[in-house]
Symmetry: C2
Subunit: 456 residues, 2 copies
């Protein structure tokens, strides 16, 4: 029996079989994605313990789902019937922060914001900043190749992963990647693990690249009377050759929800707010902020200004980060994550608006607008099945529109369960075949997060 | 017969069977790496033609070696007996430069410097700049994940590849990756292709990310009386938290060889020259240059100054780029490519010096010192077999020292043939097993550049 093996190989307190406790490990934050009932939850403390878990799963051919904080939005961490859920929550040590090599070595359960804070003490910066940064873990960020607000200038998690320690699908504990600044010794298997959503290996340690702490940012805020106008301002910023350090779109549904929750006194006398930032130092930064402001005006802003009040600017960005949990309080939220070429951001936003009308569905919008990564949030009243069906139809239309405009079905949340059909629509059959071949090569027993990512 | 299939499927002028012409396609620029005698060289013009070649090779189980300009330094493009050599030289169109999306789409045979020049017309910049940039192709750069001088600040080829069109080992023509700024739809197969040295697919198109043209650079030059002192200055730059846009080391052997060849009037009254650059705009850049100068002095520079003469600065960097071909004129050069943590650059340079003495071998040094990527150049008199054996022994000792100091056997040149043993020494057996599994998954017939990268 699997359980006997786990009891033999792990200290007793690593196993969770109490159904009430297991209930907290059944699924991630993706509404409407199905989940199963696991046989057991394990919370290992070491890579060796993770290896024991994987080996037990290999011996008994039992599915293994790895999860960090469960903040994922695609169902990638959802439990499988009769399987094992492996939570990395007890592997939360920051092992090394090395200013000279500009790298950090962390266990997978380290919370993103905790790493950021620890780096700041050394005047260093770990850029990837998903909105879930206060809760999500580096292991989960790596597994989903998480993005965030500063990606528009600084790239995504993939761009910061130097090396990984991983337990493979055959139960081997291996090191992939490197600690040096450069290296091309063999295939980029560390890179292949990034974004593979627990289907190719279980991450037990992460080595990330760091940057020096950056200069304070200038903030530009703009109010618009439609998402399409705001989209035009975004396209204008790209067209002007600017490189903002953030360019976020938040609509009034989101601002109102945050305000009702946190009472932040946010101005919501606009349909859409666009928040731009630049961290270019000195006079060049001042100039960039002015040029961004000009783009906002050209996009049709009803009001726009450079923020002189740092607290006010921070409050607006905090509201952006809180938009998702704030909306969740109002009812089930189905989160989209399409990414389209910058030139078609206005067109895509217009299509989302048309989709909302066509399906009589409330769609709030937040977006990492600067890189065309849009998060329409489909909100339904709790218990209204008809509304839910309409929202599902809207969800599919948005995916189809994104593909039609040359975009992708997932910019940063991952495929998980919610985007498997989308993946099949986006990728050629031969490319799906390559996915299956790689999966079979590295997880020959098919135990690692089966049913996720790759369509049947 | 393979040849019959190729004659049937391709226009006649695509095939080369004249031994005198084939002689120019036998090997890359890696001295001492063995090569075979191919049955035919093909020069396709389109992705469909490439597919025909791969399919013919699959049908007849014939090895296929893909090559760009043949400037590789590890034997990765060396011909295999009885196989096909596919040259991408006729696929040299720049298909698109898109300022708004900040990307370019090119055929694999586009020369690196040609892409750079075309981008500059749009005020855009393609950063990866291997010293071979005037000759090497983007396809080859992608296949080897080429680095260069500006990697120390801007990263390597991998960091700029958004998408690829590839013919797989089963002869399917597929698109991997994306055109959008972000995307996590499935495994990062485009990333897996980067640096796989033609063993997983044949690249027929490359979509690269671009950056805005940057500000002019400030140059700092320092003379040192030993490589170890220069190494100390490099470590001081890293320790000071500076991010130079280039930090190159060139020793007097290299400068003298370039000067003898090009008559540039280079000052060679120092054993080692360190060249630093910063492109941070405005006053911050001035300050960074001053701080770099200070680090050079602290490292023990006998003379150091900020270059006020742009021509002189450019001449020094041109000399750096010409060092390798200049030395090649003097005799066979065996090029090393180890990369070590920045903190141990002085120690590694000291060990290289000791190795040169121990094996009575002339070792010249160029280095992308800022990221610890060292290129000791082992020079032997033509025809001196004993010297050649001593150089081989030195080559192996340098690899062993790099691994001992936590480095990698190849920072940017790739594994090819010369570093297969090094790869086996660097990677755990289980990781080599993962390489073999991925190779078998994507090239099930074993026709793509067999015998390269992965040790037997």
């Amino acid at each position: 029996m699997l359980i006997d093996d786990l009891r033999r190989d792990l200290p007793a307190d690593r196993l969770v079989q109490d159904p009430d406790v297991i209930a907290g490990y059944l699924h991630d934050d993706a509404e409407w994605a199905p989940h199963g009932k696991p046989a057991v939850v394990v919370r290992p403390r070491t890579a060796e313990e993770v290896r024991s878990v994987v080996r037990a799963c290999v011996r008994h051919r039992v599915p293994l789902v790895t999860r960090g904080a469960g903040t994922g939005l695609s169902g990638g961490a959802n439990a499988v019937d009769g399987g094992v859920v492996l939570s990395t929550e007890l592997m939360s040590a920051i092992r090394e922060i090395n200013p000279m090599e500009r790298l950090a070595v962390v266990e997978p359960g380290v919370v993103n914001d905790d790493l950021r804070a620890a780096c700041a003490e050394h005047d260093l910066w770990y850029p990837p900043d998903p909105a879930s940064a206060p809760w999500s873990t580096i292991g989960g960020n790596v597994a989903t190749n998480a993005g965030g607000l500063c990606c528009v200038k600084y790239g995504v998690t993939r761009d910061y992963v130097l090396g990984l320690q991983v337990v493979t699908g055959t139960g081997e504990l291996v090191r992939l990647g490197r600690r040096t600044a450069k290296g091309v010794a063999g295939y980029d298997l560390a890179g292949l693990m990034v974004g593979s959503e627990g289907t190719l290996g279980v991450i037990t340690e992460v080595t990330v690249k760091l940057r020096p702490l950056r200069d304070p940012e200038h903030t530009v805020a703009g109010y618009f009377s439609s998402v399409v106008d705001a989209g035009r301002a975004v396209a204008a910023v790209a067209d002007a050759g600017l490189t903002p350090s953030a360019l976020e779109l938040v609509d009034r549904h989101c601002l109102a929800a945050v305000d009702r929750w946190k009472n932040m006194g946010l101005a919501v006398d606009a349909d859409v707010v666009l928040l731009g930032r630049t961290d270019t130092p000195g006079a060049a930064g001042e100039q960039e902020a002015e040029r961004m402001l000009d783009c906002f005006h050209r996009g049709g802003a009803t009001w726009a200004a450079r923020s002189t009040d740092q607290e006010e600017a921070d409050a607006l960005f905090a509201a952006r980060r809180l938009a998702y949990p704030a909306l969740e309080r109002l009812g089930p939220v189905l989160t989209e994550d399409v990414c389209v070429p910058k030139a078609v951001v206005p067109e895509m936003l217009a299509r989302i608006e048309a989709t909302a009308n066509r399906h009589d569905t409330l769609i709030a919008n937040i977006a990492h607008a600067g890189d065309g990564n849009l998060h329409p949030l489909l909100i339904t009243p709790p218990g209204d099945d008809a509304a839910r069906e309409r929202a599902q139809a809207a969800f599919h239309d948005i995916i189809a529109d994104a593909l039609d405009l040359g975009g992708t079905v997932t910019g940063e949340h991952g495929v998980g369960l919610l985007k498997r059909d989308g993946l099949a629509a986006e990728l050629e059959p031969a490319v799906l075949g390559m996915h299956r071949a790689v999966k079979a090569a590295l997880d020959p027993h098919g135990i690692l997060n089966p049913g996720k990512v790759i369509p049947d």
